[in-house]
Symmetry: C2
Subunit: 503 residues, 2 copies
Amino acid sequence: MRDVSEALRAFRAEAAILSDLAAAADLLSWDQDTYMPPGAAAGRGEQEATLHALRHGRLTDPAYTGLLDELEASGLDPAGSDHAMVRVARRTASRAGRMPRRLVEELARRTASARVAWAKARSEDRFDLFAPELAAVLELKREEADAVGGGGQRYDALLDEYEPGATAASLAAVFEPLKEEQVALLAAIAGSGVQLSDEMLRRAYPVDAQRRVCEATAASFGYDFRRGRLDVTAHPFAIGIGADDVRITTRYDERFLNPALFGTMHEAGHAMYEQGFAPEFHRTPLAHGASLGIHESQSRLWENLIGRSLPYWEGAFPALRAAFPEALGGEDVESLYAAVNRVESSLIRVEADEVSYNLHILVRFELELALLNGDLAVKDLPAAWNDLYRSYLGITPPSDALGCLQDIHWAVGLVGYFPTYALGNLVSAQLFAAARGALPELDADVRSGDFATLLGWLRSNVHRHGSRYLPAELIRRATGSELDSRHYVDYLKGKYGALYGLA
Amino acid sequence: MRDVSEALRAFRAEAAILSDLAAAADLLSWDQDTYMPPGAAAGRGEQEATLHALRHGRLTDPAYTGLLDELEASGLDPAGSDHAMVRVARRTASRAGRMPRRLVEELARRTASARVAWAKARSEDRFDLFAPELAAVLELKREEADAVGGGGQRYDALLDEYEPGATAASLAAVFEPLKEEQVALLAAIAGSGVQLSDEMLRRAYPVDAQRRVCEATAASFGYDFRRGRLDVTAHPFAIGIGADDVRITTRYDERFLNPALFGTMHEAGHAMYEQGFAPEFHRTPLAHGASLGIHESQSRLWENLIGRSLPYWEGAFPALRAAFPEALGGEDVESLYAAVNRVESSLIRVEADEVSYNLHILVRFELELALLNGDLAVKDLPAAWNDLYRSYLGITPPSDALGCLQDIHWAVGLVGYFPTYALGNLVSAQLFAAARGALPELDADVRSGDFATLLGWLRSNVHRHGSRYLPAELIRRATGSELDSRHYVDYLKGKYGALYGLA
């Protein structure tokens, strides 16, 4: 038997190859969304499939899994990063090894057809066109859950891919009290008699000026353009092609400032997380976010806790007004702050404000859990969806297109994914509260456009660790306590209580 | 033993994987030159090395070479494309298998340091800084030639990588008479008393207008932007990321029209070759040019035989003048035609006109052959270089920076590569003569901006075959005769005799 250091060297060498293969696949994907000529689509699909298959083959190769066996038996220090590296590598290898090839292929085929059916169903507002495809996807996801296993509910097996360590039960325990608070707050705002307008955000915003503002904003936060770039895509995203190359995208609407400005803050938040991984973790299994929820906490923190805060705009508004003199020349910081924080129960998740956003998620969480478990039949989804919107948000979707057909997630097999958006909000507030405790000058720094102290705190407490810690432990280490929705509720109540004159 | 069709299926499946790996590596490379953020360079180098190593491992895997053995023994029809596919695959696999890993690594290290030394030597005009590095590179290239073998001279083993089937002797047989003709023609032009000016090409050419003209020009030739795109890089190139995604780049000089305009024609010529490979060859070893010389014939044909011809400008000049009214408003087509065909013995290969270009190549061919064989010591290179420039071009480089240090090729190990540039010129004229014979309306079509008949002829006779035929056979099939420099000499004499009033 080799000694441990030799096994570790062999493991790191293979992990670096796996990481480079993933990076190449990520570049193929980024390019497909940005600069790839349209006629290349079919060939690109083959190239991506080949790279994924090569990676899958290596992940399930007995030479590699044997190395993991050897390292697991070698008594690595459980507190050390090598131990964590092996844990994360095993998790990925196990999922890859447990999924039968037939199931992987069926899922690929089925989600491809479901995606097409979904797009047609949404555009024609005909749920019946999508229902059989959704039922088939759900059946395959049940098979996936059974194959992956894990000892808990089927939903937990799926959720674990996105949020290691979380379960349906642990989520419900966090979400239930949250729901009550958010429903009550939304109702109080609706009954406050106060109406904030976002009309000023829907004036003429020339795209060139938006681009300059977005670049300057991301750079001011600390997004490193030397190790990243900003491009335009229909659906914005952040993607890491290695930790020294984390790119973001946005989209510009010349009649609405929000998509590009807050979208860029959001994607820059994701990207700064990956740019902050410890250099010694690059090209290892630890060069990933701890979970999608933790990842989302970073995007939401910069987009909302900073980007929609009064101290931020007290500092940043003059430059924004100067960039858009026609739209904002006659406005002041208080009216802008009110405009970017307008609350309104609305039908569409991706346009939702902070107060209602999580409620959109809770609807989806409850429904996908019931669908997967068979407690809700696919045919009954539209009615159940509308019931929950009425109950939580106080509105009824006038159509399925604006209701249960609005998101692509289920069509492409993302079941157990939605909750990570809500977790991101909760964690963002809990981290921000901890940062505020550690950084007494935080508001003043933000007001003066100095984000280095906050970014430094996030680097030390979150970013550099990559996926070394499970989300629950990362939160405990960074904030001193378990995940607790109280921080987010307090944040919402404080901020929106003031904005809407609530008691 | 499997039957042949099963072995062919297995071979094609592996060839598709090899092709996809190469495509991913090509995208990494394209991205590095276009949009990659600067801080990503080190990680990108690792990603590229990993993909090349994976490809090398598969090319030399006994499971793959055994498949080639099996297919070679299976009696495939020698006239069929499957036979050619196996031939090309074997050639690549053999080169990969014969190169010792130590030598590959030493070459990578040495050319990396030689490249740095070369850049410094050139910028400080100090050949002594580069000499020891060049000597070391040459020694490694001798080792490479011995490892690769082939039964001929060392030079032939290196040349064969770029120009399958060619040898130093076969090149010399073609180049010797060519040299005499081109030296004489250049001297006649110098003694003609006629001076053409290219001043009109060095006026103000706004970059935006140049971009539009370049795009329109490439599209008019038949470059398919649905399966390609045009970007900006310091050193222009064409690169195929699969045959449905062949991208080109250019560079804009707002005080000189030539680099972008003729550079785009050149790269579009390369790219149209690859866009024209038969669809059934995609993702196979045949989806490559037959050789670098044949590849260069396509770029030079569009750049020079079309792009610097009178019929072309009789058709295209009005649009060019309209795109650059300030620079060209007062000019006519005859003066433009003269300007783009100005001949002058000059020091720098990449700026050379058609009449002197091949002489730059012949200098390099003779010198690299002598260097590799040990007939010329590295320390004597500058003097030998200057002697040949005096003898062939009638000028003496005033410095090594403008002499033997001007090209990067030898520093990065490209020995046996230069001749393909001259071959490209010769083949372009021979193909064009054959096309003219087959297409009696060619000049009229070109004049009217209709390039479909010419492109169609090239598609049928050159492009679609990919690397199915060796260059010599491809030329024979397309033109009915062996490679013959007469076509190029006739072309030059006819065109420049008229321009310079020679007898």
